[in-house]
Amino acid sequence: MRAEQLPIRSPDDVARVRQAVRSRAQAMGYSVVEQTKLVTAASELARNTLVYGLGGSVEMQELEDGFTQGLQLVFEDQGPGIDDLDQALTDGFTTGGGMGLGLSGSRRLMSEFDIQSTPGAGTRVAVVLWKRAGARR
């Protein structure tokens, strides 16, 4: 399945990312709970890309692992990056007056979560939710 790339440069773009993730997840046959988790994580990560990463993009890609399908979302920006990833991933840590739940919460919501960041160069967050991930444990 082709990858789809969307810009994240404005609050409207963040809303468009939510809509795109929702319709892709629906089309792939994710359950309502899974769709909700995907869209919520997408909303958190897209907002981080906009607010802290000063804009960037997301790439959506369908995956197949022989047993099931997954939806992968890769958020990328060329912003200031994150100095201390462990700290950024701690519940409640925020530098922007938020709740500090976007990164840590998205990690809990998704099956896979990978974050790479280079101070001064940017941040890349990749997540995957495998279909019926709960049943595979």
């Binding site: 609050p11 709740m99 739940l101 998205s106």
Partner: protein, 131 residues
């Protein structure tokens, strides 16, 4: 004119039904409009129906919690009604607990809860749980 979420007055209560996709700016406008109207009408309770919302992320959650604490300062209780089960499951996993917000299954239950809150505490607003 900028987009707004309508606020209905029902006796001593204000009723908000969110029917559109919540953009960040729209939630912030709702927060300002609600606090202003609670003060103007001396409302004793606010009910926010989120049954049409298919997600609540940390930003919306934080703003809803903020609305609840602002209205409490003005003497009104806030009750959130109609949260979808999938949204509730996701919120818990995200780690969002919505402190200080009371919830009810639907508008009828929410109305009963508000009424009870006002009766037990005519000054309203104090978090003495009636249920």
């Amino acid at each position: 004119m900028s987009e707004r979420i309508p606020i209905l007055k029902m006796g001593p209560f204000l009723l908000v039904t969110i029917q559109v996709e919540l953009h960040d700016q729209l939630v912030l406008t709702l927060q300002d409009d609600l606090t202003e109207q609670v003060a103007r009408h001396r409302a004793q309770g606010v009910m926010i129906d989120i049954s049409a919302l298919d997600i609540v992320d940390s930003f919306i959650g934080r703003t809803l919690a903020h609305i609840a604490s602002l209205t409490r300062l003005l003497g009104a209780s806030t009750v959130l009604v109609g949260m979808r089960p999938a949204v509730a499951i996701t919120l818990v996993e995200l780690g969002l607990t919505l402190p200080g917000i009371r919830t009810a299954l639907n508008v009828e239950r929410g109305m009963e809860l508000l009424q009870r809150l006002v009766e037990t505490d005519p000054a309203a607003g104090s978090p003495s749980d009636a249920c």
